[in-house]
């Protein structure tokens, strides 16, 4: 069994006993077999001494038990690491940032406290999964639509606190951005409510999130300043229909115009999340095909060479699927307006009608629908899909550590990122995953993301190579002034170190806050680079 740092076996045994008094014997887990359930299945240090592992886990049933856990942890200086469902795979899963921490598993705090279909919000506890919330809404026939990540087994609270995102309309797919009202337990064991929740008896906690005075919600995301025990979310009213249409543009150079027009449409609230692709390249995201590898064998091709390649393929260089939500007459008019604008601005733009569905779909219709996340319906099908992907199976990976670089919404930035990442792979002898037709993701409506999916294994030698690649990608992003918006615990220090404006003033400010509100440093030490004072000297 791992022990918390600087805690003796006797002290730890006493602490576990006090945890058991707080939550009941059956909700303290300390056998090797129990603790192994909290390993990170995708760990990039799997089986190595550096793998982040828990010393025990404790599962409170309510906020009062969370308070008691925090007080015990303070008495014994035991680091604790709260998880909601612990399925944040690629970003650490259920494993703590600091080995030896006690995982506070909030799975028993699983109540949907309220869903209001007239004011379009939900209030939930951390153990509520997207499936739970979805099923709650379905069972009551409430006319609201969720925005879900994929896979959908995580919790709205956990996902939003790590800045997770979904697939529908801009205000909702930014999950932290759609929150309204938070309750959390401080390191001292106090319960705090943000926004108008600070006023007892308010009926606007999930309507108006600013309250009065400083809004501290952001301090609870990607951080270690408290344990969130309730959170409100704004939901979309159930749209009447869903419609998709695909735009293609013929030339490599047309990506610039495509991007600008898509940004116009989304920022005008006419479309949902766009999905870019490259018909000429056979796709835009994922491992480079042999055809792309051949195109790049003599270095990054010139634009002229890329135009020749596109012409030779006989397919359009780029595509974007636009998605519309709303009344039928509105979505059809929006698609018509989009087509007119593209036709006016990009020579050779072509259009293809896609799906049209009346919402909500019935259970029978959903059963065979492969696009559930676009409709706010949680799914786990992505695992089956990826397991059967021939390209995935060519590379016997066991998991992945994702690196998402945030870029401005500019065609040239996307091309630059693809080239920089491709170079980084090449420098380490890893087959490139990026190519001149790589396309961005648009989880956040105001920024592009160019992802790198770095494989993880059960093989230490291969994991060492993956760590070297990930680290190099972080460095390369920083050289280009691209932030990595979310990362695996193994790289959080490195990623945060790149926020170097004014001698890392942001991190120094966060450390002052940490010292003030969590002086013993018990909550999630090291999460996103924020270490307690006692552990700061050894930080990379």
């Amino acid at each position: 069994m791992a022990l918390p740092p600087n805690v003796s076996e006797e002290e730890f045994a006493s602490a576990l006993s006090e945890f058991a008094q707080a939550v009941g014997d059956e909700w303290v887990f300390s056998s090797d077999e129990d603790v192994a359930l909290y390993r990170d299945s995708y760990s990039i240090y799997w089986g190595e001494p550096e793998e982040r592992v828990a010393s025990a886990a404790v599962a409170p049933a309510n906020v009062e038990e969370v308070q008691q856990i925090v007080r015990v942890a303070n008495r014994y200086n035991i680091p604790i690491y709260p998880i909601s469902t612990g399925r944040n795979l690629t970003y650490g899963g259920a494993a703590p940032t600091l080995s030896g921490s006690v995982v506070v598993d909030l799975k028993r705090m699983n109540r949907v406290l309220e869903v209001d279909e007239d004011r379009h919000f939900a209030l939930v506890e951390p153990g509520v999964s997207y499936y739970d919330l979805y099923n709650y809404i379905q069972e009551r026939g409430l006319q609201v639509m969720l925005d879900v990540p994929d896979p959908g087994w995580g919790s709205p609270i956990g996902n939003s606190l790590d800045h997770g995102a979904g697939y529908t309309m801009a205000p909702f797919r930014d999950h932290f951005g759609s929150r309204c009202g938070i309750e959390f337990v401080t390191a001292e064991g106090e319960i705090v409510r943000t926004g108008t929740g600070a006023m007892p008896g308010t009926d606007t906690w999930q309507d108006y999130r600013y309250g009065v005075g400083p809004m501290i919600d952001g301090l609870l995301a990607q951080s270690n300043f408290g344990i969130v025990t309730k959170m409100g979310f704004w939901l979309a009213p159930m749209p009447e229909t869903f419609l998709t249409g695909t735009v293609t543009v013929p030339r490599y150079r047309d990506f610039d115009a495509l991007v600008k027009e898509v940004s116009y449409l989304e920022d005008s609230f006419l479309t949902g999340m766009p999905s870019f692709g490259s018909p000429a390249a056979g796709g835009g995201f994922g491992q480079a095909s042999p055809q792309m590898a051949e195109l790049m064998q003599d270095g990054w091709p010139s634009v002229e060479r890329l135009e020749e390649f596109v012409s030779a393929q006989g397919r359009p260089a780029w595509s974007v699927e636009l998605r519309f939500y709303g009344p039928e007459e509105v979505v059809r008019a929006s698609w018509d307006a989009a087509k007119r604008r593209f036709r006016d601005r990009v020579a050779g733009a072509a259009f293809e009608d896609g799906d049209f569905w009346r919402l909500p779909l019935s259970a029978e219709e959903l059963a065979t629908n492969p696009r559930k996340p676009l409709l706010g319906v949680p799914a786990l099908e992505i695992f089956a899909t990826m397991a059967r992907n021939p390209r995935t199976n060519d590379a016997p990976l066991e998991g992945h550590a994702d690196l998402f670089a945030i870029l401005p919404r500019k065609a040239e930035a996307v091309h630059e990122a693809a080239r920089a990442m491709s170079d980084a792979y090449g420098e380490l002898g890893v087959p490139p995953a990026h190519h001149p037709f790589s396309t961005p993701l648009n989880f956040y409506s105001r920024a592009f993301i160019v992802p790198a999916i770095v494989p993880t294994w059960r093989d230490p030698a291969r994991n060492a190579q993956s760590r070297a690649l990930y680290s190099r990608l972080v460095d390369r992003c920083a050289e280009h002034d691209w932030i990595v918006y979310r990362t695996n615990p193994a790289f959080q220090d490195q990623v945060v170190s790149k926020l170097s404006y004014n001698d890392n003033a942001l991190l120094r400010f966060e450390e002052k806050l940490k010292d003030g509100i969590d002086p013993n440093g018990i909550i999630s030490p090291g999460r996103y680079g924020i270490w307690p004072a006692s552990m700061r000297s050894g930080r990379a």
Partner: protein, 131 residues
């Protein structure tokens, strides 16, 4: 004994049926699935403090030979090795489940043996017990 079929999305089965039943009574689960499905079930089983107690990965190698990788409670191995996927499977698994001894120390090596994207996934079925 109840029997469920898993298609691509395990989530509705877990959140709609299994988890609620298991919260009330921690009944052992037994099944034959692909590795990706078992990976998901293993992650989900933490909700109810259950874990993989035994598994036999039936790996079909390139030449068509079949290899069984067995881990977990040793006394179950002979019975599970002979299991097929025909109609007798349900009864056979039910008998094996009765042999699971939760009082024996668990085998940490049985947990998380593979991720969901293993290269042998398409050719591998896993017989497993979660308890």
């Amino acid at each position: 004994m109840s029997v469920s079929e898993v298609r691509d999305d395990l989530g509705q089965l877990w959140y709609g049926e299994l988890r609620g039943q298991l919260r009330r009574t921690r009944t052992p689960l037994a099944g034959v699935t692909d590795r990706a499905t078992l990976f998901c079930l293993e992650e989900l089983a933490r909700d109810v403090d259950m874990r993989v107690r035994f598994r036999v990965d039936r790996v079909v190698e390139q030449g068509g030979r079949t290899r069984h990788e067995v881990s977990g409670q040793p006394s179950l191995a002979p019975t599970l090795r002979g299991l097929g996927t025909d109609e007798s499977f349900g009864n056979a698994m039910a008998s094996v489940v009765r042999l699971v001894d939760n009082s024996l120390p668990g085998d940490v090596g049985t947990l998380r043996r593979t991720g969901p994207f293993h290269n042998a996934n398409e050719r591998t079925l896993v017989a497993w017990i979660i308890a």
